[in-house]
């Protein structure tokens, strides 16, 4: 038996595998939709980091300088206008970050739901409907949030929420309803008689790739949690107090005519925001990549590649998962060089994930051709 045949034949019987991963089955919709959502979210994040984040931060800094100069020249209208611009820029930044993180988060939930499908005691048609409803919500929320900045309050009957936000929130509601239904299906399964209980080949698979992703992923999550605890304990409150002090210094020094001190406060404020953003990004990314590695560990039986290539993509994924957060943190000292290396780390994760998606796609092709599906 070849390595590829062993890959496809591992775990439960081929008939059982084929039935669980049949075309348009709930599990297949969740797996391919989930990996697709994670890939789209990561690509959006890379584009956002490379082309929007830094120019946006510069524009916020310029507007803060304008506001400080307006205080020095006693021009409240100009100060108000600068803050209106800052509000728009922050909304632009915040909605892009939200779209990126929610798309990836929903991808994780989709992979998790795929794993749980054999234990959800509903008919396949109902499970399929729930999977499609989930994907609809998981696409609607990030797209809606992405559009908030461009649609604004146009045509909205509400005081503070625009149409893009309404659709985004509705998407989140759909995802929430599907999660509740999946929980109900699980409860129903575990209350049923033992006779109808099932085993799943994904949970019994113990290859090198699976074990490495499981332990590597757990270690990444642990590193992220330790870093988050250190940041919260050592920096969070200090940074918040410093944030307030610097804003106060900008206004008081500028109003007193000490432009140099006011401009220094603006520069320090920019540095502080950078330090906060980099720490939060490193913490969030190392944990997200850890969770991704653990989730992908379960789907290795579906990655229809030779053992050698499966191992290569596992190692590439783990290297990228550690490199991105480490170099994001080093941006404080190494600036653009570390930023570039962090982007390379992100790219490694995207390439490895794409390679695994190709493996899963090939697996579906193999299953469909064995089952005679056109």
């Amino acid at each position: 038996m070849s390595t590829r045949e062993r890959a496809i034949g591992s775990g439960a019987s081929a008939a059982q595998t084929s039935e669980r991963f049949a075309p348009f089955s709930a599990r297949r919709i969740f797996v391919i939709g989930g990996v697709g959502l994670i890939l789209c979210g990561m690509i959006l994040g890379d584009i956002f980091a490379a082309f929007i984040l830094h120019p946006n931060a510069n524009r916020i800094g310029e507007n803060l300088l304008t506001a400080t100069r307006a205080v020095a020249s006693h021009d409240p209208q100009a100060a108000g206008a600068a803050f209106q611009n800052i509000g728009g820029l922050l909304e632009n930044r915040g909605t892009k970050v939200d779209a990126h993180s929610h798309m990836i988060g929903f991808g994780y939930i989709a992979l998790l739901a795929a794993l749980l499908q054999p234990y959800v005691a509903f008919p396949e048609s109902a499970k399929r409907f729930l999977a499609k409803l989930f994907l609809l919500g998981a696409i609607l929320l990030p797209v809606g949030v992405f559009l908030i900045h461009y649609v604004g309050m146009a045509g909205s009957p509400f005081a503070a929420i625009g149409w893009a936000s309404v659709f985004g929130d509705f998407g989140g509601f759909l995802v929430w309803v599907v999660c509740l239904c999946e929980l109900a299906g699980l409860t129903k399964y575990f209350r049923a008689r033992p006779a109808i209980r099932v085993s799943d080949e994904l949970l019994s698979h113990r290859s090198w790739a699976t074990r490495t992703l499981l332990s590597g992923g757990t270690l990444l999550v642990l590193i992220g949690f330790l870093h988050g605890s250190y940041y919260a304990g050592a920096h969070l409150f200090r940074y918040e107090a410093r944030d307030s002090e610097l804003l106060s210094a900008m206004t008081t020094q500028a109003a007193a005519g000490d432009s140099a001190a006011a401009l220094q406060a603006v520069a320090d404020y920019g540095q502080l925001q950078g330090a906060k953003a980099l720490n939060v990004a490193a913490h969030a990314h190392v944990i997200e990549f850890g969770v991704l590695a653990i989730l992908l560990a379960f789907f290795q039986p579906y990655v229809f590649l030779s053992e050698k290539w499966r191992r290569i993509w596992v190692v590439v994924l783990l290297i990228g998962s550690l490199a991105l957060p480490v170099f994001v943190l080093l941006e404080l000292q190494w600036d653009l060089l570390a930023g570039g290396l962090a982007d390379v780390g992100g790219l490694l994760v995207i390439i490895a994930l794409f390679a695994m998606l190709v493996g899963i796609w090939r697996y579906t092709g193999k299953l469909d051709s064995s089952a005679g599906v056109a």
């Binding site: 506001a67 400080t68 307006a70 205080v71 006693h74 409240p76 100060a79 108000g80 600068a82 803050f83 209106q84 800052i86 509000g87 922050l90 909304e91 915040g94 988060g105 994780y108 939930i109 998790l112 794993l115 503070a160 929420i161 936000s165 929130d169 989140g172 509601f173 995802v175 929430w176 999660c179 999946e182 929980l183 699980l186 409860t187 575990f190 949970l203 074990r211 499981l214 332990s215 757990t218 999550v221 642990l222 949690f225 330790l226 605890s229 919260a232 304990g233 918040e240 944030d243 804003l247 106060s248 206004t251 008081t252 500028a254 109003a255 944990i287 969770v291 653990i294 560990a297 379960f298």
Partner: protein, 161 residues
Amino acid sequence: MTFSRKLLIFGGLALAIWGMGYGIWYAVFIEHQTLDGIGSALATGFMRAAENRRVESQAALADAASRSFVYVRQVDAHGHWIGLGLLLVILGIAFDRVGFGERIRTYLAMALLSGSVVFPLGVLLETWNRGVGPQAVAIMGSALVILGLSGTALGFARGSS
């Protein structure tokens, strides 16, 4: 299914659903108004400074800082409840591969679940009381999660019992 796996899978799912429900409620009824409030307080702080009304300027900036303090923690609690909930379910699925006996696995699962509930709760409590109490609750919760995760990582390295 072992008790430790049930604890992690059902506890994690319930926690993630709670976190999502909290997030939807927060996004619809509070978030937009909070962000508008922060922006408007900051602008007011600078405009009053430009008019040489220093006391009002400082009050507005303090208001912005206070709103921002609350906003950061509300979003953190929402994100951490969902993230930790998902992590518990995922670990629960693989928990039989943790190379300890069921008794230790149950202790690990209890530490992970209780820490995952308590840690974001402590963060959220900081918005009502800025004393040491809520911070202690958050630290205790995160210590429980770190303990549970360390044990689980060690268990995965040891392999199935």
